[in-house]
Every structure is written in C-alpha cells, then in structure tokens.
C-alpha cells in the first residue's frame, strides 16, 4: 500500500521581477513546473492514494492561470490513476478569512478530488481498506477542534492536517509561516496512525514514527534564506514529495529537480576592509559560484560594512550581476552599533522588534486573548516586514 504525500505547492506564488516570455512571473512558472514534475513522478510511481496537505494555492484568490493549471494537473492525475483517490485539504494560505468568500478548492471535486476545505472530514475507501481524516486549517483554528485520533474504521488510517506542530520549528522561528494553527505533538496520537501527513512547514521534516512534513516543492516563502539554513541544519537536500509504504512505514523522498538554484553564498566579513579590498573579495566570491549566477536566485551577505565603504563599491558591476541572475541580493550590513556615549537614559537603545515586544507585552488585551501568542504574532509581523525590506 503506497501513499504519495505532497504539501505547500503555493501555486500562484510570485517573487522578484523576472517574467517568462509569456509574461508570467518566473518564480510563479517555476512553482508550477515543480508541481507538474511531482505529478509526473506520482503517475510513474503509481501510489494507491495521493494526499495534498494544504496550501495548494499561495492565496485565497489565485490567478486564473494557477486555477486552470491546478485543474489540469488533477485531471491528468485522475486520468492516469483512476483508482487512486486524491485527498486535498485547505491550508492557511488558501482558506478565506470570512466564510462567505467560499473556497476555490471545492472546484476540484469536479475532477474527483476529495476536498476538506473548512470542516474536517473522514473519507473512507473500503476497496483500499483506507480511511483518511482530512483536517484543513480552518478546522484547527476553531475553538472546538476535531479529535485527531484514528477511529478504527479501516486497516490503514491516515491523518492529513495543516498547521504548526509545537516544538518542531527552529527556535528562531524566522522560517515559520504566519497564521498556522498550533498543534501539540500529543494531540494527534503519534504511533496510532498508519501515517500522518502534515503541511505548513516548507522544510521536509520527520515528526516521529510515520509522521512527516513533506515540505514545499519549491522555495515559495518570503524567506528562502532561512529555509536554506534550516535545511542545512537538518541535513535535508532540496525539495521533494514523499512516497510512503504504509505497511512498513518507510518514507522515500522523491526529489524535484528545481528550475533554478537558490543559493546563499558563504558570508563575507568586511570589517576593516577598504572599498577596493572589499570589492575584490565580493568579485572573487561571485566568480567562485559553481555553475555561475546566471538565472539563479543568489544572496551574498557581507557584514561589517560602514555606509561610506558601501557607497564606494562599484555599483555598475553589481547592477550587472542583478541583471544576470534572476535575483541577486548583495546584503551589506553595517557594523553593529556600539553606543559609547548617549543622551538621556543610559543603556542600549531598544531595537524596533524589542520595542514592539515590550509594548505589546504590556498593552491591555481583551479577555481571552493569549498574550504570549499575541506578542509572538506582533513580533513575527515586524520581523517579516524587516525581511521583506531586506529582500528587495
């Protein structure tokens, strides 16, 4: 009994300014290619069931292109594997904030997909001795959550859910997607399920015995650098979907060949370097990129660069790189401020996130609001705004 687990496709995701000859955002096209590749792979692997664990689309109102494309892929899947059910849940990205908006995912019921868009559903497929408890984002965001346990209704029992499993994310949380519902690890009975398919975290992660985040198929978040770092820390190489053997519990990642590399070059320390020396070091770094920078997404962080040195760099060369790469971000960071003298209150001035944190920590809150979560959300928002500024 084989199961294909994919998640966080984020169709319609757009980033950077490059367009395809057809006038489509290049990263949006890359994202679609990754999904097409996955569908090819799934058709070849012939699993008995296909699970899509949320965030099929990057937004609640995807572009027509994204909708049509998704429709075609599911249709293709159905035509090739008519006996393999496809179960799709909504994630936080494709769940509308108000119920009236209606959910686009329902559309895919027309191509035979089993969809859980705002309520949890338990699909039973007797011919496969399989039941799938499908828990979309919305069902976890409600006060009364569904019970995330098997009910003994089939030989193979699978849970698919979209949310943040508490304690799994890296402690700096910079790669955490906002707005995910938090699920406690003891809430879903690890070890009781034949398999638990989670979506939301874009880095492929094993949650426990027979439980995984499949991760995204492309770098589809506003912070690909943090994602790269998490992957390096976890020893995860690239993106993939998962092929699961439900009998043995073994999970085999099926790699996606990316349309282009996303590279965070080794950092440079610019401290005490003159402009020419720094320029030479940067040029060397860029020249050393294996396979060049053409059409790739590249970042180079240089620390300890005072503003006057940054101004003296050869910006024509840098503009050339920006044109050559799909995205080239030279991230020049000033030396960290050391305030030896000051006016007013002694001590270090608070950074903006610190200021926000201490303000939100004291602000009066309506009853029932969890302060810790509230502060965390605020701090995350500021951090994301900062990152977005840094990225452009």
């Amino acid at each position: 009994m084989k199961l294909a687990h994919l998640a966080d496709l984020h169709l319609g995701f757009r980033q950077y300014h490059r367009q395809t000859p057809a006038g489509i955002n290049q990263r949006e096209a890359d994202t679609a290619m990754a999904f097409r590749q996955a569908v090819d792979g799934i058709i070849a692997a012939r699993p008995d069931v296909v699970i899509v664990a949320g965030d099929l689309f990057h937004s609640v109102r995807p572009t027509n292109a994204a909708i049509v494309f998704a429709f075609q892929q599911f249709q293709r899947l159905h035509a090739a594997l008519p006996d393999a059910p496809v179960v799709l849940i909504a994630g936080n990205h494709d769940t509308p904030r108000s119920a009236e908006t209606g959910n686009i995912l329902r559309l895919f019921e027309e191509v035979g997909v089993h969809v859980a868009s705002n309520e949890a559903r338990r699909f039973v497929f007797p011919e496969l001795e399989l039941s799938v408890l499908a828990v979309p984002h919305e069902a976890l965001a409600q006060a009364e959550r569904p019970l995330l346990r098997p009910d003994g209704s089939a030989r193979y029992e699978v849970l698919v859910a979209h949310g943040e499993v508490d304690g799994v994310f890296p402690s700096d949380r910079s790669t955490v997607e906002y707005g995910g519902a938090v699920v406690q690890p003891d809430e879903f009975g690890l070890g009781e399920w034949s398999y638990v398919a989670f979506g939301h975290y874009h880095v492929r992660t094993e949650l426990g015995p027979r439980a995984w985040y499949a991760g995204a198929l492309e770098y589809v978040s506003s912070n690909p650098w943090g994602e790269l770092r998490d992957e390096a820390e976890k020893g995860v190489e690239g993106k993939a979907w998962l092929l699961i053997d439900l009998d043995s519990g073994r999970a085999t990642p099926q790699p996606i060949i990316p349309a282009r590399r996303v590279l965070d070059l080794p950092r440079l320390d610019g401290t005490a370097l003159a402009a020419e020396e720094l320029q030479a070091a940067i040029v060397a770094r860029v020249a050393a990129v294996d396979g060049g920078i053409t059409d790739r997404v590249i970042r180079l962080v240089v620390t300890g660069v005072p503003r006057h040195v940054a101004r003296q760099l050869d910006h024509a060369v840098i503009r050339g790189w920006k044109a050559e790469a799909l995205h080239f971000h030279l991230d020049l960071r000033p030396p960290s401020p050391t305030r030896s003298t000051g006016v007013g209150a002694p001590g270090r001035r608070q950074t903006l996130p610190e200021l926000v944190e201490s303000y939100l920590g004291q602000r009066a809150l309506p009853a029932g609001v969890d302060r810790e979560a509230f502060v965390r959300e605020g701090v995350d928002l500021v951090a994301s705004a900062e990152r977005e500024l840094a990225e452009d």
């Binding site: 395809t20 000859p21 057809a22 006038g23 489509i24 949006e28 096209a29 679609a32 290619m33 097409r36 292109a65 994204a66 049509v68 494309f69 429709f71 075609q72 249709q75 159905h78 035509a79 008519p82 006996d83 059910p85 027309e110 191509v111 035979g112 089993h114 949890a120 559903r121 338990r122 699909f123 039973v124 497929f125 007797p126 039941s131 799938v132 408890l133 006060a143 009364e144 959550r145 569904p146 019970l147 995330l148 346990r149 009910d151 003994g152 209704s153 304690g167 690890p185 003891d186 009975g189 690890l190 070890g191 009781e192 992660t205 094993e206 949650l207 426990g208 015995p209 439980a211 519990g249």
Partner: protein, 606 residues
C-alpha cells in the same frame, strides 16, 4: 507506686507479684477445714511479695539503694514524674502528645510521649506489634495521629500524615465520625483531646483497568468529593524503574540502559541518525514502544550485529519487556499516554491526611507507589518545599514491605533509609505488623517508640522478647483490646496504657454505612469524576457526549481536564475530547472530462 523516705522519693513499677501463705498447697486448706467447703475459702494469713523496677529516684544523684519506707499507689502527678513526663508536659513549651492513661485501682493518669522524640529531631518513628484484631494496631495509630494533630505545638511547625491503605477498607473513612461510648468520651476528656474525625483528608486511588472507576472501597457517591484518581505516566514511572526491575534478575547492563533512557531519551529531544525517524521526543509509553521498535528495526536492517550504542539487543529486549510488564500489571495506575494525576506535591497542608489506597492493586504497582511517594516526600522535605515541616508516613503490614528475609527490594531499602535518616528531615515512619520478628531488624530497631498490643505467645517466645520479665510476657499475651505496652526513650521501663477508640469510622463500620458503589458503566464513571470537579455536570450530558467514543480518547480528555481543573469542567472536557468526525464514503468519480481547450498557462512556449 511511690516509696517515700526522708529526703528521698523513689518511683517504681510492679513487674511481678507472689503470695506466700502458711499452707504449702491450696489443697491443705480444704483438709484443714475438715470437709467444710465454705470454710475452705475463708481468708488466711498471707505475705505478698511485689517485685518492682525503679523508674526514677529523686534526687537522682548519688545513686542509692531503695530505702525502707511506706509504699503508696501512684497519683497522676507521681506518674508524670516517674515517667519523666514532667520534663516535657509542663512548663512554657510543652511537647507532650497524649497516648492514653496509665492506671490501676481507679487511677487513670494521662501518659504522653515527647514530640521531640516521636517526630524528631531527638528520635523518631513508631512501631506497633500485635496479633490481628485484638492488638488494635491500626486503631491505635489512627488515635495517635489525631492526638498529634491536636497536641503537636504550633511553634514546632506544621505536620501532615501520609497513610498507605494496604488492607481492605481499613483507612477509608478517616473523615467520618464514629459514635463513642461514654467511657471512651471520658477517656478523651481525661487526655485533654477532642473526639473528632480528621477534617482535612484527601484520598487517592489508582483506577481500575477501565481507567475511570477507582480501585478503592471508598466509592460511595457521598464521599466522591475528596477521592481522586492516582495515575502516572512514563516520566513518573521511569524515575523509579529500579523498583520494578530489581525484583528480577536485573543486571548492571539493564540498569545502564534504563539510565540512558531516563537521562537522554525520555522527555528530551533525542537525535539518532541511525534510527527511523531520526528525531525523537519520547513522552509516553506508546512513544517508548515506537522507539524500541525503531531500534529493533535498525538492528535488523543494519546487520551490524547485536549492539545498539553499546547496549546489547538482549538487554534492550529485557528492559522493554519489564517496562511493558508495568503497563499491564499496573494498568489503572500507569497511563499509556502520559497524563498524570498526582498527590499535591509542594502544596501539602498542615494537619491534613493524605491516604493513598493501594489495597486493591497488584504488588508490583504497590511497590511502585511506595517507592515513588516516599522518594518524592523525601526530595521535597530535603528542599523544604513540600508545604509542611513534618510528615508522618503510616505503613501498615510492614512485614510485607520490609521483611526480615527475602530479597533486598528497593522498597525495603527505602524504608530502611527512611528509618535511619528520616528524622533529620521531618520524615517519620509509623509502622505496624503482627510479628515483629518477621520485619527487618534495623527498620524496627530505629523506631524511637515501640508499642505492643496483645501478643502471640509463640512470638513472645522468640529471642527478641527475652529481656521482658515473665509476668510482662504473660500480661502481653493476655492484653485486652485498647491496652498497649509502650516503650519510649523517656521511660526507663515499659508502661502499660489504655487508649480510647478512634473517633472515626472503622473500615468495617464504614463500608456498612457507605457501601461501595458497584463499578459504574464507563460513561457514568466519567460523569462522576467530572462531577467531582463541577457538581453541575449531569450524567445525561456526559452520556450524550461520550456515547460511541473510544474509551482511550475519553480517558485522555478526562485526565487533561482533571489536570487543568478549569472553572467550566464540562466545556473543557468537551474541547479536550474534540469533535467527532463521522466517516463518509469517499465515492469515486468514474470519468472526468478534460478541459476543452487544454492550453497550459505555464507552458514554456507561449
């Protein structure tokens, strides 16, 4: 008795009495009376010889032989001085704990023990021996505890009692008043005590294997409010895994593996690249079982022999079997999924009694409860954060837990340690058994106060009692109910006292008055536990909610609710239980028509 001579008073206690008459044999009297039976019983001259042991002389120095003088029966005051109770019952800072009256011929002088020698720091612990039923051991301890709670001076700090109920309904009704005879009521008055039940008692009992009915005889609905479940998860159990394992042939290797689990794996982030999965967070028995399976899988697939991280597969299997054994044998105490319900560590209250009812559970589970509860008491008292300064631990049937022969179990070692070091910590052992000779000598030997009720003659014939006079031995073998012989550091000779019946229902009376409820059906048992948190919860609502649910799911939600003690228990429980998602048939769609104009919007060529 008291002997007075000029400048000197001697107090003593009679040990033996003999009468000498002018006739050699009793039959001579009949012969003498020439066949007149009435005359044979008439008073004759006789000499009576009493042998007494000196209790105290005044002045004490220099030591002198007992002078000739008039001998009188002792008064209350004489008893106080003779037993050196004047040192701790009078004055500004009395530390006397009344335990009964001493008396003969109309005298009933109160006898007290010195709290400093009963609860530490000078000496501590109390042990009581005697035959079943007649020795009134359990009753005596109940009475002593009540006396301690009433008389222990506040300036000495707070005191609580933790009782293990090991026999039927014995200690199940400590909060229920008993009707006392006038004689007993008078005895309480004489001792300056009030005959009243304990007003702050908390009962803890493991569940039955169904996980919701309590394994105790205190299940009458009227008593539910202060009767709570005692359930532990993996964390709680593993800390005391030794307990469970040392009964068998547990070796150093298994010990090492358990330490490894405890230190590195359970409750920690554990990274194991060779296992599938690599990242572990083992919190429950279920997680642990998955972890074991992953190790076995890895060993099987790797063909790297029988070692996993220096631990042999046989050792790992052994530990797994033993731990698995706990979940089966102690089902109801040990929960699979980690939710625990425990004694109020850190929040013990002054003059409160905590009764842990293990009468109905498997011996293995009993050992686990003893070990963990006493160890936790010790830890908290060492850190001075239990909530009280002194705890009296009452262990009945001590011969079962600290036997003189048999394997040196963890529980026995722990009781020994408690008897040797407890008094410095305020941890005091009150224990009882029928046969003192069957208990580890060092444990009873450390008891500062030793008490005997009616004794078995065979037991009295064993070496331990050789120092008692023959008359004392006879007296012990015939002691009536409610009378005890007391040895206490201040008393130079054993003293016989009479104590009143405890003012609480005995186990037998209790089960008559409050018959145990039959095991409730699952949903009602759940409702009962919720009602203990929130009396407004109705059985119907619970039944509606729980009906058709898996019992494991319900138990888990109940455990969470108990732990959280929310204001609105029913809503909280409902939320924990989670909405049930009914299965629906996933129907297949036979044919799907492709889009008519199949342009791929993302095709590389426009």
């Amino acid at each position: 008795m008291r002997v007075e001579a000029p400048g000197r008073v001697v107090y003593g206690v009679v040990l033996d009495a003999v009468a000498y008459e002018d006739l050699a044999r009793p039959l001579d009297a009949a012969v003498h009376a020439l066949g007149d039976p009435a005359a044979a019983g008439s008073p004759r001259d006789s000499i009576r010889l009493y042998t007494a042991a000196v209790l105290r002389q005044q002045p004490e120095e220099p030591l002198q032989p007992v002078p000739l003088g008039e001998v009188r029966m002792a008064t209350d005051d004489d008893v106080r001085v003779a037993l050196r109770m004047d040192a701790f019952t009078g004055g500004d800072h009395p530390t006397g704990i009344p335990i009964g009256t001493y008396g003969a011929a109309g005298l009933a002088a109160p006898v007290s023990l010195d709290a400093d020698f009963l609860l530490g720091p000078e000496a501590a612990h109390l042990n009581i021996t005697g035959v079943s039923g007649l020795a009134t051991k359990t009753s005596a301890v109940e009475f002593f505890l009540s006396s301690i709670f009433q008389a222990f001076p506040a300036r000495k700090g707070s005191v609580a009692a933790l009782c293990f109920n090991v026999k039927g309904p014995d200690l199940c009704f400590l909060d229920q008043p008993a009707a006392l005879s006038d004689e007993d009521t008078a005895l309480y008055a004489r001792l300056g005590l009030e005959p009243r039940p304990f007003d702050n008692v908390h009962y803890f009992a493991p569940c039955k294997p169904d996980g919701v009915n309590l394994n105790t005889l205190r299940t009458h609905p009227d008593l539910a409010a202060n009767t709570e479940p005692l359930t532990w998860g993996l964390r709680e159990v593993l800390e005391y895994a030794e307990v469970v394992l040392n009964r068998d042939d547990l070796d150093a290797k298994a010990d090492a593996f358990i330490d490894f689990l405890d230190d590195r794996v359970v409750g920690k982030e554990f990274h194991a690249p060779e296992l599938q999965p690599k990242e572990w967070k083992v919190l429950t028995f279920a997680d642990l079982e998955a972890f074991f399976r992953a190790i076995f899988d890895a060993l099987e697939n790797s063909h790297r022999g029988d070692l996993w991280r220096t631990h042999h597969i046989a050792t790992i299997r052994k530990v797994r079997n033993r731990l698995g054994n706990i979940t089966t044998r102690a089902k109801g105490l040990v929960t699979d999924d980690g939710a625990s319900s425990d004694l109020p560590w850190g929040a013990f209250a002054d003059r409160a009694v905590y009764v842990v009812d293990v009468a109905g559970v498997d011996p293995l589970a009993q050992d686990l409860v003893f070990a963990r509860v006493i160890s936790k008491l010790r830890e908290h008292l060492e850190r001075r954060d239990l909530g009280v300064d002194h705890v009296v631990v009452f262990v009945d049937e001590l011969n079962k837990y600290a036997p003189s022969d048999g394997p040196d179990t963890y529980v026995r070692k722990m009781l020994l340690d408690l008897s040797e070091r407890g008094r410095y910590l305020g941890l005091v052992l009150f224990s009882a058994q029928q046969f003192r000779s069957q208990v580890l000598r060092r444990v009873v030997g450390n008891a500062g106060t030793t008490i005997y009720g009616r004794m078995d003659p065979d037991e009295l014939a064993t070496a331990g009692y050789a120092t008692l006079s023959p008359a004392t031995r006879i007296k012990l073998a015939t002691l009536p109910k409610g009378e005890l012989m007391v040895r206490h550091p201040h008393f130079t000779q054993p003293v016989f006292v009479r104590f009143p019946r405890p003012a609480v229902l005995s186990g037998r009376e209790g089960v008559e008055r409050f018959p145990p409820a039959p095991d409730l059906p699952f949903d009602e048992a759940v409702a009962r536990q919720l009602r203990a948190l929130d009396p407004g919860v109705s059985v119907e609502r619970v039944r509606g909610l729980v009906g058709g649910r898996r019992e494991d799911d319900v138990r888990r939600a109940l455990a969470r609710t108990r732990q959280a003690r929310p204001d609105d228990a029913f809503s909280y429980f409902t939320a924990c239980l989670g909405r049930r998602i009914e299965p629906e048939r996933g129907t297949r769609r036979a044919t799907v028509t492709p889009l008519r104009d199949p342009v791929d919007p993302y095709a590389s060529q426009p």
